[in-house]
Symmetry: C3
């Protein structure tokens, strides 16, 4: 990241709870990776094993751990580089992209009986419908729509142009990215004898428990009657689809473009590769891992890793795919056997009714 | 669904066109499934066969058909439970999430010559560009953008933050969910000899015929010259992509994340599993079924069910996949045959030029 | 496309830099394909080889090249039909869907220190945060959000309801379609020993170089520290996901719903079929082609075409799939060999320890 205005290394060390080695007045104008950093930027090395790459870096300043040893340029020495980096990052991000000021932007629309908590901000053009509540210190981005009776928890961040429909509940410390749609109607239709579809009302809601993160343009449909639930601490990436009545367990992580069909229940601590999918009405246990792109078409027990088209236990899938790849060679081997057999048969005494070619 | 204010069973029975058995003054505070309902909630059983589950339910009240028999708690008796449920659902949804009042919200922008029909509502921050028309009783959600000359039919519902670009036509009784984009440019580029791309203007439009439903973040691109058509009664789920110049037939249903490439024509009454896809410039007949996750790479005749990678007739795909799974066993069988053959050859009289190993 | 007001053929010829054959006063009320055009519409034929289809067309007027020969109805004769069509299309599109007038719509919000270039337009309800800059003649659609310090280049078009987050840079002559999200946080979490996730700050940005086009609801995540880069002239279709720290090379084209996981680097001039995907931390060379729906799970060299599940060199994938399809036949052949072998063994003299069944 480039900074719009520079900051001294000394100031950054204070933020990072570290100490400075070398020129404290060094002006940092950006933070970047070892390879990406320039002469006016700070980079970091997590351990002394990265010393060589750090030396080769063009960075003007370093952030290093205490056991890193002597540095050849101005540096911040920190007890925990990752923590220091998180602190510095948070500080600089807030400097570059200040949160909306607390309060409701004059261009926002707040309905009757809606409440906006202490220190919470509602951005330009956002809509908070009647009966909705925004928790303390929550931030509602520009153009966000919160439907009737929606509840948003404390310290939750809903980014610009996301949409949350009536009656949905979003926990504390959640992050909902731009373009996400929470609580659109589940895809429920009854088919008439003439083949036309009749919409089944979708009356339930979506519940995002605390500490859930939802990617850009992710779509979580409302349940038919009860709740579609994304349990505490689950992290869902961009463009994910979760159909009505599903449950995604605690701390489950899904990479982008995953899709889960209706009424499927997924356990805790699962991991989904990008573009994988699960059919409706099945159960995945805890700790299940699904490979990228793999469609899961039946239930999966706790702790199992699945992969392939369709998804099956990974070792079996790899064996079967290797087998398929071998099929050409098998045909060749069969041809060879047939030649040898023919030669033997030509030499054998005649026997009635047993030969076939 | 939980209700913000309770409603009596008697009042609900009136809405459901049913009669009450037991305490008419029972206060209903929510509707839920048999398993999800609590003591202050109404649940339902579609037939007497669900009696056992109904008895086990914690629900305070029931909605049951006339032949259900005696109930052990307050109940609504209705001739058609599904119809009663739809009526109740619609009534309560409108109570919890009232439609925008007819008329144009003061924060909306309506261009010159645009018309808003009788009883239609345009929500906060919505934009209706010049020459666009909104049919009677249609509802345009907050933040929706309707481009120049867009026509929206009667009783159509366009949810918050959806976008419809210039010249597109949306029929009557359609539902367009949040984040959907109708009429973005088709993906058309001419490649120059130097490898760079030159944009081909996309001048056509999108036509959604009557009774179409479009999921959240679904994207239907405008045709190059004519129209991309989603025919009457088709239902498309979230995050679907329909490329330029396609036609999706009447009453075809597509689950989430389906993608269809350009100029493909899909018949009536087809069903697509989630994450399936179709290449460009092919034709799928009427009543085609495509399995979840399956890429269709050629035309498919009427009524055929396809599945697999790539999609092929389902029975064939299953046979071939079973074959692939067997390949390991085949290799084993070939080894066994080779051993037996070797033994026979060792015993046979020598024969010139026939053996191979 | 249908026109809201007619235009004479003579006027269109002037726009197309062509000449008229026949009635110059002919009133054109639409442009359509050879098959789709009606009696009051203009259609086109790229060469004399399309003469038969042109003659069969119901179109009232034609746009044809100079060597087309005599036409049977009013026509525009142009040296380069594609160029003429582009000119006519651009002219008519601007007439039907006029760009927002230069300047900032009164309902838009422009932050402190933000700049809007000469001739640029900012639509209703759009938000341009502090420090952002909009280049000359750029057009920012209704409801668009441009975060702090975002830079938008000259002549770039950002369609309604797209979102660009803080610090991202968009080049000149880019097109960003509705619902696209540029610069949402990369999906980066550190897993604690207890299985819970801790968000890793995403401080980098997204850089779209000049002449990039981004489809509707496409999501390009910001880098952790440096930049996620979509290089000059790349064209990305709808609903695409590009994860943090990726680079997509110059002039690479991706069809809809492609997904690329983090830190992957893709070369120049590549082509991706719809719904294909690439895992994280791999490299694809220049000119790579990836088949529709195929997940790429390792690096690919320059110029290679891959396909299949998982993606592998296309010729190999096709061979292996054909082999898998043959497996059923192989089993049949093995059974036949076994029968023949059994017959031979029955006739052979006994030999110790070699037979197996």
């Amino acid at each position: 990241m480039r900074l719009t205005t520079p900051i001294t290394l000394g100031e950054l060390a204070r933020v990072a709870a570290g100490t400075v080695s070398g020129e404290s007045a060094f002006e940092v104008r950006g933070i970047a990776s070892l390879e990406g950093a320039g002469a006016d930027e700070l980079t970091f090395a997590r351990s002394a094993s990265m010393r060589e790459r750090a030396t080769a870096s063009a960075a003007g300043a370093l952030l290093v751990p205490e056991d890193f040893g002597k540095t050849d340029r101005p540096a911040i020495i920190a007890p925990d580089v990752d923590l220091a980096l998180a602190l510095v990052g948070e500080y600089l991000a807030a400097r570059e992209c200040p949160p909306p000021p607390p309060g409701v932007h004059p261009s926002a629309t707040v309905g009757e009986g809606a409440s906006v908590g202490e220190g919470a901000g509602v951005g330009p053009g956002a809509v908070v419908e009647a009966g909705a509540s925004v928790g303390a210190r929550a931030r509602i981005g520009a153009g966000v729509y919160l439907g009737h009776g929606v509840a948003v928890g404390e310290d939750t961040l809903i980014h610009a142009n996301a949409t949350v429909h009536w009656g949905c509940r979003i926990g504390a410390r959640c992050v909902v990215h731009s373009g996400a749609v929470v609580g659109a109607d589940g895809f429920g239709f009854a088919r008439s004898p003439d083949g036309s579809y009749h919409k089944i009302p979708q009356l339930g809601n979506v519940v995002l428990e605390d500490d859930v993160e939802l990617g850009a343009c992710a779509c979580i449909d409302r349940a038919m009657l009860d709740s579609t639930v994304i349990a505490r601490g689950a992290k869902l990436d961009n463009l994910i689809h979760i159909a009505h009545n599903c449950r995604v367990g605690e701390g489950t992580a899904m990479a982008a473009q995953v899709g889960v069909a209706g009424s499927t229940r997924i356990g805790a601590g699962c991991q989904f590769g990008g573009q994988s999918g699960v059919v409706g009405h099945v159960r995945l246990g805890d700790g299940v891992r699904v490979g990228a792109g793999s469609p899961v078409i039946k239930s999966v027990a706790d702790g199992v890793e699945v992969w392939g088209f369709p998804a099956r236990e990974k070792s079996r899938a790899l064996r079967e795919m290797a087998g398929a790849a071998r099929s050409g060679r098998l045909a060749e081997e069969i041809r060879a056997l047939r030649r040898r057999l023919k030669a033997l048969e030509a030499d054998a005494p005649p026997a009635a009714g047993t030969g076939d070619s």
